[in-house]
């Protein structure tokens, strides 16, 4: 790891000021992706601004309409929170599938969304549930938030403060994991909302998580796995690597989507 200067921010304003002041500064939340990337020298920020001591960023709140999760809530907290389990059980289950127990004690929802790893789980949930990402500057709809591999519309001095997930009538996440790394080869999150059905896919897109509008349309009239029978996903634009070809991923999307709908109908 290259040398850098460490700053411990005690508040959001101080954190954004530090990010403005130093070119090439990066915020660090749980650090479970950033620190390994820095060791591999895939990232080499000159300054790190630590968000871990900022108070009030890890709360979880359930209202009649939405589940609101603080950006610094750890995956373990989301997984075990009674409020998340009550409000959106599929989201609590998803958080328990991220990394391993020790990683889940450090990794955060805000960090995961800001990093936008194409195999991360939370981006699929944010897209399918129609989440709103609240930052130090604005509110961003999930549909507008992700901008390609490891890219989002966040500005360098902009920090996520919380994520608001509207409550869904039914939702489920099905993840086909790489057996070694446990990252998603394909993950599909389905959500039946009062006004629409959404289907979002992670792990498979060559430019990150995406929505599957053809599947959404098919499920709109009847939210049942049978509505997806015969539907296929083109392999073009899907990721292809040593773990799975684009064609295999395309096939898996159909399988995982049908399983997710079945699970949501419980």
């Amino acid at each position: 790891m290259y040398e850098f200067t460490y700053h411990r921010a005690s508040g959001l304003r101080q954190a954004t000021n530090l990010l403005t002041k130093f070119e090439d500064a990066k915020p660090i939340a749980g650090g479970q992706s950033l620190l390994p990337m820095m060791k591999f020298r895939l990232a080499s920020p000159s300054n790190l601004v630590d968000l871990n001591k900022i108070e009030g960023l890890n709360g979880i709140e359930l209202t009649s309409r939405a589940l609101i999760i603080g950006a610094m809530a750890r995956h373990a907290e989301v997984h075990t929170s009674p409020l998340v389990q009550q409000g959106i059980p599929a989201l609590a289950a998803l958080a328990g599938l991220i990394g391993d127990p020790a990683v889940r004690h450090r990794g955060t929802i805000g960090g995961s969304l800001a990093n936008n790893d194409p195999t991360a789980d939370y981006p699929a949930a944010a897209l399918a549930l129609g989440a709103t990402i609240v930052t130090t500057k604005r509110k961003i709809a999930a549909d507008e938030f992700f901008a390609g591999l490891f890219e989002t519309v966040l500005e360098p001095d902009e920090l996520i403060t919380k994520v608001s997930f509207p409550l869904a009538k039914r939702a489920a996440y099905q993840k086909f994991r790489n057996p070694a790394s446990r990252y998603a080869i394909v993950g599909v999150f389905v959500a039946k909302r009062p006004s629409e059905v959404r289907v979002a896919v992670t792990g498979a897109g060559s430019s990150g998580a995406f929505r599957l509008t053809a599947f959404e349309e098919a499920l709109k009239s009847r939210f049942h796995p049978k509505s997806l029978e015969g539907l296929t996903v083109p392999a073009e634009g899907l990721a292809s690597d040593i773990h799975a070809s684009a064609e295999y991923r395309a096939h898996l999307i159909g399988v995982m989507a049908r399983r997710a709908v079945a699970a949501a109908n419980g």
Binding site: Y6, M38, A102, R106
Partner: protein, 165 residues
């Protein structure tokens, strides 16, 4: 260089570190607590698992400066004098190790599993919970046995008899 102070195995410690010093480097190289191991250095193998403020973390994926003010527990802190912790005793009795490289991380993870899941652990739960800890010798069979026995022994407070069952 930033100064850090934390409590490690119940004792207050201080040290000057570089910003980039990992918690595991601080433990091993500054404090000479070499029971915590570095296996992969990429947060996959779990040889470096310690407890920070009561929860298991991979000390290769946390900066020493981030542990400032924290309570850290390493494998050196779990025994009571010359008496092994019931979980350590269970690994000994059940042949839960061969080369021993992964063992400190396995035991720290095992204690975290007991904290979260209780004392009656089935094999499936233990195997799922061990997804972040790699062992290249034993095939996990005896590690799973050790953790189940150690968890039960921790409930009874009688390490030797329970662990040997």
């Amino acid at each position: 260089m930033p100064a850090v102070s934390m409590t490690v195995n119940g004792k207050p410690v201080r040290g000057d570190v570089e910003s980039r010093t990992l918690l595991v480097q601080f433990l091993r190289e500054t404090l000479r607590l070499t029971g915590t191991h570095v296996g992969c250095d990429t947060s996959q193998c779990g040889a470096c698992v310690v407890h920070v403020d009561g929860v298991a973390v991979k000390s290769c994926s946390m900066l020493a400066v981030q542990a400032d003010g924290a309570e850290v527990l390493t494998i050196e802190g779990v025994a009571t004098g010359d008496t092994l912790h019931p979980m350590q005793e269970a690994f000994r009795q059940n042949h839960g190790l061969q080369c021993g490289y992964c063992t400190p991380g396995m035991i720290m993870t095992a204690l975290d599993i007991v904290r979260r899941k209780g004392h009656e652990l089935d094999d499936h739960t233990i195997r799922e919970e061990l997804e972040g800890n790699l062992c290249r010798c034993t095939g996990y069979h005896n590690i799973v046995k050790s953790i189940a026995a150690g968890a039960r022994a921790m409930a009874s407070g009688d390490p030797a008899r329970q662990a040997a069952e």
